[in-house]
Structures are given as C-alpha cells and as structure tokens.
C-alpha cells in the first residue's frame, strides 16, 4: 500500500524531441528512495548511462521534490535539480543542486512530485504545468530576455502566482556555469544545469497549482513545527524583525552567528543606505517557503536591481570591496551579483573565476589585450559588467570562461592552471567546483581540519554546502566570541566535545589535532564523514534546508547539543511512514552508495578522490600539515565503513545487495567493475 501522506503520487516525463508528455507513478521509486536527491539519483541511474554527455538530448534534467514539499514542515520550500552535470570537470558526471524559494510547493500542488525532462526541442519552448496538465509552449519571444523580464512575461500570461524556473543568456548559450533562477535570486547554481536547459532549447518551466499535499498526521506536524520554530527563531511582535524577542536568544542559523536578513551582516555603502529611511533604499528579511528564519534580505533601491541577497550572491564580487575599501559592501557589489542573476550565471563559480583572473594578471599570464577584459581595474563596475556579458554571450575570452574556471584553466595550462588549484582543490577526473574552502579549517588560509579534507575529496562538487559539520565549528567559534575566520581550534574544542558526542558518537572527534599540537588527528575522520554524508543525503531527500538541518548545534543551550531526530520525525509526521533515526541513517548510507555507484559507472575510482599537491605542501595557521598517507588511510577506513572496496573505492556486490540495490550490483557486474585491479 502506498503511503497516504507527503508525495502527490505522479512524476511527469517530458520528451522535448517528440513533444510527448506522460506520467509515471512516484511510488515506483518511493518510499525506498525517499524523494529529492535519492529519487533523482535513482532516475539518473536508470536513464543516464555513462556514454551520455551533459548537453546531449538524452541527458535527463530531473527536477525533484521530496515528501515534505508543499506542507507546513519548516523549510520545505526546497527542491533538487539533478542530471549529468556540464560543470563537473574534466569528466561530466552526475551531480545535484538544491534550490530554495517557492517553486517546489507550487509543483506539488500542481500534482507532480518530480519532472524528468529529456530530448531537445527544435525551437525555444517553455513548459507550462498546472493542476495535472502540462503543455509545451512556444518561447520564441522569451528567448534572449533576461531572467527578470522573461519571468514578468510569463506572469502576464499565466498570472503572478505562477512560479518559474528560468535561464538567462548564459544558459541559452550553453554555458557550463549557467544557473536556473527562480523569482528574484533563488537559483540552482551548482552543476551548470542552466546550460542543460539551454541545450534542450527549454527557456523556462512555469508551474501553478491549486491542489493540495496530504499530511498523514497533521496535529503531529503542527506540534513538531512549533517545536522547531522555537528552536530556530522567536517572535518579534511589533518590534525589530532582526532582533529576536527574547533577550540573548540567538537564531540557530550557522551556530547562532547568523540570523534574519543576510545583508545586515555586510557593512558598507548599501547597508548604510538601507538603514537611512529617507534614502529610498530598504532591506527586509525575505523567507523561502515555510522557513521560520528568513535569512535572506530583499533589497530595494531606486538605482539598483531589486531582489533577494544571499550567500554566494552577496559575496560574489568581494574584489569591489578591495577596489573601493572606503565603501565596503557597495552598490557595485550588489549590482554585480544581480547582473549575474539577470544573465543566469552561477555566482559561486564567479567567486573562483574572478580572483583566479586577478592572480593570472598579476603573474603576467594574461593581458588586457589578449582577453579583452579591463584586468587592471578588477573590482570596478566596468570590469564585472564586461566580464559577465562576455561570459553570457560567449564572446572572445568569455567563451573560454563560460566553460567554467577549471576547464578554462586546463585549456590555458601551465602556470595559469596551477594558480587555479587554490580555488579548485580536488585533483583527478572528478574535480570541478569552487569550494566553501574559506572556513575555519579554510586551509590554506586557516586551519587544517581532517574531516573537511575527506569530505572534499569524496564529492564531485562543492562538498561542504551541507553546513552541518561546519555550523558546529562556527557555532563553537561564535560562542567563544570569535568568528569563522579568527577562531582558534584550542579554544573551541571544549565547546565542541558534547556536541560532537551527540552528533558523531565521540567527544574525541572534536579534537582535530593531537595533544602535542603538532600533527593532525585523523582518527575520527572516516566515521564523522560517513555520518555527515548520511545527514546530507537525508536532508536533500526529505528535502530540508542546508542551513538549518541537520540541527547539530544549539546556540541557546548550555551544552549546545542539537537534535538529530527532527528530520526523521518530520518525515514520519508528513508521510505516515514510521522512520527511526537509526533506520534513516541506513537509508542515507544506501543513497550515498547509489550515488557512488553512478560515479563509478562514469569512471570514478579511488584515484580520483584526491587533492592537488599544494594542499600537502603548506602548513596551516597552526603549523600543521595534511599528509597524503593520512588522507589515504582515512579514505580506506571510510570505504570499509561504507562497505566499498578499499582498493578501488567501488561499492562491493555484497554491500549493494545488502542495501537493496541488486539491480545496481548486476549492472556493475555486467560492466566488469568488480574484482578490478586498482
């Protein structure tokens, strides 16, 4: 019997080549594969064999929601975009990207848990999905418009309650770093799926739904939601929405150092303007669907592009702050991020490309004449606007950069490529993405933290966007009055101990270097990273927000211990399928192994799980170093814990069968992956 809550039961398949639209049952995949990332991984395993290239019509663009989307469950506005990624380099491989905002609930209310899009339309089209119906409509007039204009056109046609996933110029021109945007700034950036949409001649996906998502235990869900709201935020009745009502209460976002309205963290010209009522500028907290925190800011002003600011968008053009230090976070910084949104370029990738260009220019590897970019004035508005337009239109040097920083660097080769390693730390054939590397443990600028290194080598994208582990480090740092960049490990260990014990089973996991202070402690690395991956897979499959879940660090209690049962309890309340915490970790393990199997089929082996040499050559701020042998030993231990062959990093047949992935085992067997020499 199918569960009676959560999923709406149908997946829509759209073949753009034949213009055929069909439906299949979600229950072919769930509850086994949970939804979201798990569902998408299974679909890609079934339908995207290794030979398919990212821009081939046969590639699938999977838009997947989870069981919680469209319900009251906190942060249930998120969904996942999956498929073979054009951005991962040098090998195109299966990848995922999470998006917030308000698109996911609308899709569920329209009657679909997920979309599988394949084929290629002969002319520009967009999808219009509403209440159990889907149509492929002509998008000739939308093609070439920026993401805001095109959305406005669609709202004129289908009403402004329609939510739209849309690509800009960059996606149309099949940039490998193109994002898919929704509303004023929520985007599927990682993976470059905007380019996949462009390659299918698909400009937009518009959805509007008036149906509902059934919740199995509504009362339970309300109780749980109220509990979670009380953990993360407090009411601020009639007072400043940025200040939690209760004295001393901290929003539990990233360990309490963060809260409502992210712009308030970025001092400078723009914030000053927003704080001045007569200026005409303002910023207000802006919530993703069903979020109790609303960590984004919606920024408005007479001569800037309005929209939400968050994270990558906020920090994209830091060079402008160096260019005009007296202005700090200025209108240029803001407008640069918005221009990337309008053109549909992944801001996160630009955070690597821009400093890398700057490094190359300083090392005299690139000149202004050769690139056609005003490299002398990196940080200015002129530079960023020329750069972004060139990338989006694939003009001149922009054509190379539209391939993504890593591919561009590889093409240039030599010293220029070496300079890129600091921004793209993973070596091997599954490298690829700009990383959240500038953290505490933001080696080489900060401290070396062994679990972060292992997380990084095992992924094929920005590995740390599941902030769970990081948020503990941050939270501990904030608690002792430091921040992510200034934290000193010795000071935060005592705070981390009880938290690590609750989250990963051992107090010792908190100490990431030996008591002599000279060498790193790798002992707990593998088990910590295994649990981290399980958390991450579950959070992306239910689907919940990266920033709030898993809830490992409580900024407001004396021992700071969070609660790891929240996600599975939400899942149980919404779907009516009982899920214990331990059981959920087995699911996470299974999905992680499935993703590994896809990577293996794409050609990934143990040898691809590594970092560039420079990470083993430098000392961190505490004088400690990563050693290759240590990393290799932790890898072996991790593979063993996961039931993968430590020699090859390939999941073993018996593990796959134990996890209920018999078909995967058979396929890998057929392709001769078992018993291979490393």
């Amino acid at each position: 019997m199918n569960p009676h809550g959560g999923w709406v039961g149908k997946i829509l398949r759209i073949d753009l080549t034949s213009r055929k639209i069909s439906e299949l049952s979600t229950f072919n995949y769930v509850p086994k594969f949970l939804g979201g990332r798990g569902l998408g991984a299974k679909i890609c395993w079934d339908e995207v064999p290794p030979g398919v290239r990212a821009f081939d019509p046969e590639n699938r663009l999977v838009i997947a929601t989870g069981s919680l989307q469209g319900t009251l469950a906190p942060t249930s506005g998120r969904f996942m975009v999956l498929g073979k990624s054009p951005q991962s380099a040098p090998t195109e491989s299966f990848c995922r990207s999470g998006v917030g905002g308000h698109f996911a609930p609308e899709l569920k209310w329209a009657g679909y848990d997920a979309l599988i899009i394949h084929g290629k339309s002969s002319k520009p089209v967009y999808l219009w999905i509403t209440d159990g119906k889907a149509e492929i409509l002509d998008a000739t007039r939308l093609w070439g418009l920026d993401t805001y204009q095109a959305q406005q056109m669609i709202w004129k046609l289908h009403g402004n309650k329609t939510r739209v996933m849309i690509i800009g110029k960059a996606g149309e021109n099949r940039s490998r770093i193109a994002c898919i945007l929704t509303d004023s700034g929520d985007a599927s950036g990682q993976g470059g799926f905007g380019g996949v949409m462009g390659s299918k001649n698909l400009k937009a996906i518009a959805v509007r739904g008036s149906r509902s998502v059934d919740v199995a235990k509504p009362k339970e869900l309300m109780k749980l939601t109220h509990h979670i709201q009380r953990l993360f935020s407090r009411k601020s009745l009639k007072s400043n929405p940025y200040e939690p009502e209760e004295r001393g209460f901290k929003y539990n976002v990233w360990g309490g150092g963060y809260g409502r309205g992210s712009l308030s963290l970025l001092p400078g010209e723009l914030l000053d303007l927003c704080n001045e009522p007569s200026s005409g500028y303002s910023q207000t907290p802006d919530g993703c669907f069903a979020c109790p925190v609303s960590c984004r800011s919606h920024v408005k002003g007479p001569d800037i592009t309005n929209g939400v600011a968050f994270c990558a968008q906020s920090y994209m053009y830091l060079e402008s702050m160096i260019h005009q230090p007296e202005k700090g976070y200025s209108k240029i910084t803001w407008q640069a991020a918005k221009l990337a949104d309008l053109l549909g370029i992944n801001a996160y990738e630009l955070m690597a490309i821009i400093p890398w260009l700057s490094d190359c220019y300083r090392a005299k590897l690139l000149t202004e004449e050769e690139t056609g970019l005003p490299l002398k004035e990196i940080g200015s508005w002129r530079f960023i606007s020329i750069l972004l337009h060139k990338i989006a239109n694939r003009e001149g040097f922009g054509d190379l950069l539209a391939e993504g920083g890593q591919r561009a660097a590889a093409k240039l080769g030599g010293k220029a490529e070496e300079l890129s390693f600091i921004y793209y730390p993973r070596a091997g054939r599954f490298g690829g993405f700009r990383e959240h590397w500038v953290y505490l443990g933001g080696f080489p600028t900060g401290y070396a933290v062994p679990p972060l290194a292992l997380m990084w080598v095992l992924d094929n994208r920005d590995a740390m966007v599941s902030h769970s582990y990081i948020s503990m480090l941050w939270g501990a740092a904030f608690t002792v009055g430091q921040n992510a960049l200034t934290a000193v490990p010795e000071k935060i260990f005592p705070i981390l101990k009880p938290v690590m014990k609750a989250a990963y089973g051992s107090e010792d996991a908190a100490e990431f270097f030996q008591s002599d202070g000279k060498s790193l402690n790798w002992k707990w690395t593998a088990p910590v990273v295994k649990r981290y991956h399980e958390h991450s897979l579950l959070k992306d499959s239910y689907i919940l927000c990266d920033i709030l879940f898993p809830y490992l660090f409580n900024a407001n209690s004396p021992d700071h211990v969070g609660d790891t049962t929240l996600e599975s309890r939400l899942y149980s309340a919404v779907t009516g399928v009982e899920m214990g915490e331990e059981e959920s970790y087995r699911k996470g393990e299974m999905l992680c192994t499935l993703e590994r199997a896809i990577a293996v089929r794409d050609g990934r082996t143990r040898r691809d799980d590594t970092l560039h040499g420079l990470y083993f050559e430098r000392e961190d701020a505490g004088g400690r170093m990563y050693h290759r042998e240590d990393l290799e030993r932790s890898k072996s231990e991790y593979y063993r814990l996961m039931g993968w062959d430590p020699k090859t990093g390939i999941p073993t047949a018996s593990t796959l069968e134990r996890l209920g992935l018999k078909e995967v085992a058979e396929d890998l067997e057929k392709r001769g992956f078992f018993g291979r020499k490393p």
């Binding site: 809550g5 469209g70 319900t71 009251l72 308000h102 609930p105 209310w109 805001y148 959305q151 406005q152 402004n160 509303d183 004023s184 739904g209 008036s210 149906r211 509902s212 998502v213 059934d214 919740v215 199995a216 235990k217 509504p218 869900l221 309300m222 939601t225 109220h226 709201q229 935020s233 009411k235 601020s236 009745l237 009639k238 007072s239 929405p241 009502e245 409502r260 207000t284 907290p285 802006d286 919530g287 993703c288 669907f289 069903a290 979020c291 109790p292 925190v293 609303s294 919606h298 920024v299 408005k300 309005n306 929209g307 939400v308």
Partner: protein, 201 residues
C-alpha cells in the same frame, strides 16, 4: 425599548456619517451591535486579526498552518483562509486576512443562512456552518466585489465554502507567524472593521 430604539437610530446616524467621511474604526469601541441602513443587524466581531505588512517576510507559514489545521491535513495555499499576496521581484508581501466585516457581504449573500456569527466561542467571527453550506459560492462572489483575493474560498474537493473562523478563538496563523507580522486583537465591545469601513483591499 425606547432606549434601544434611540440607540439604533443614533448608530445609524453615526454609521452614515462615518461612511461619509471615509470610515473611521475607532468609534467601534462604543458599539456592540451595528444596524445598517438596510436594516441588517450583525454583532461586531470581538476578535480580529491585524497584519503588519512591513514585518512580513513572505514565508507563507500562515497559509500552510491554516490549511493544515482547518482542512484536515490537506496542505495547500488554495485552501488557506489567509493568503500572502506577493510581488516577488518588488519584495512587497501582504498577508490578506478576513476582516470579519462589520457588515459582512458574505453573510448577507448566503442564500441558505450558512454563515453566522460565532457567539459560542465568543469571538463573534463570521463562520460557515459546513452542514448547511451548499457550496454555491455566493459568499465568495460577494466578498470578491470588495476584497481580492476573496477571503472566503471554495474547497472543490468537499464542495463547501471555507473562510477564516479565527480557529475558534486561537488563530493558528498568528501563533505560528515567526516574524510577528500577525496579531490578534480582542475587544469585548467589538471592532468596526472591514466592509463597509474598508471597501477595497
């Protein structure tokens, strides 16, 4: 009796003059029952949800908690008795709640008298008696003349009209709004709000 008659006459006069100058809420403090020129007499609501759109972040938790609580776990924006009207690019978010109008168009439009004042719970909210409702949607149309989106809506699955009933005195949207953009005000004397004081929203 004479006293009551006088009072009613006074009220009528007050109402008319109030409408003449564009409507003022404050003098509702004096009143419990308002009589309108058409002779209709409806007790004023003693609890009303007020919104502060400046605080709203547009997260729509109010919509979800409403539909989850009042529609038996069917979560949907279209079943919510409160709705957030959003201009996504402009960042303009307005929670739209039922005013529990002083002279409720929905109540007057209902052909079967399914809408009544909730005296039992003491909120005096205008509520729909589901057992009586025939799903004709006259109340939706009546509300729509003044308020968009209409505050009473139609539940196509159950074929009944639905509207805000202040959750029998404990409005869940107010309880769950994480930004405090909603608040419930109570007054024993009742509130003179909604139609006819506000004729468009």
């Amino acid at each position: 009796m004479a006293k009551e008659f006088n009072r009613r006459a006074l009220l009528r006069g007050l109402t008319l003059s109030a409408l003449g100058v564009g409507g003022v809420v404050a003098f509702g403090d004096l009143l419990e029952v308002l009589a309108f020129p058409n002779g209709q007499k409806v007790a004023l609501a003693k609890a009303v949800i007020f919104t502060d759109k400046k605080l709203c972040s547009g997260c729509r938790i109010c919509e979800m908690v409403c539909s989850n609580f009042n529609s038996g776990g069917r979560n949907s924006s279209s079943l919510a008795r409160i709705s957030v009207e959003k201009e996504y690019l402009k960042g303009d978010y307005q929670p739209k709640v039922c005013y529990q109008c002083a002279d409720p168009p929905c109540l007057k439009a209902c052909p079967v008298g399914a809408i009544r004042v909730d005296r039992l719970k003491g909120t005096y909210a205008r509520i729909i008696d589901e057992r009586v409702c025939i799903g004709c949607q006259e109340c939706v149309k009546a509300c729509q003349q003044y308020f968009r989106p209409p505050r009473s809506r139609f539940d196509p699955q159950r074929k009944k009209a639905i509207k805000c009933h202040l959750c029998s005195g404990d409005p869940q949207c107010v309880k769950f709004c994480p930004l405090g953009a909603l608040r419930v005000e109570r007054s024993e004397r009742g509130f003179l709000v909604g139609y006819p004081v506000i004729q468009e929203d």
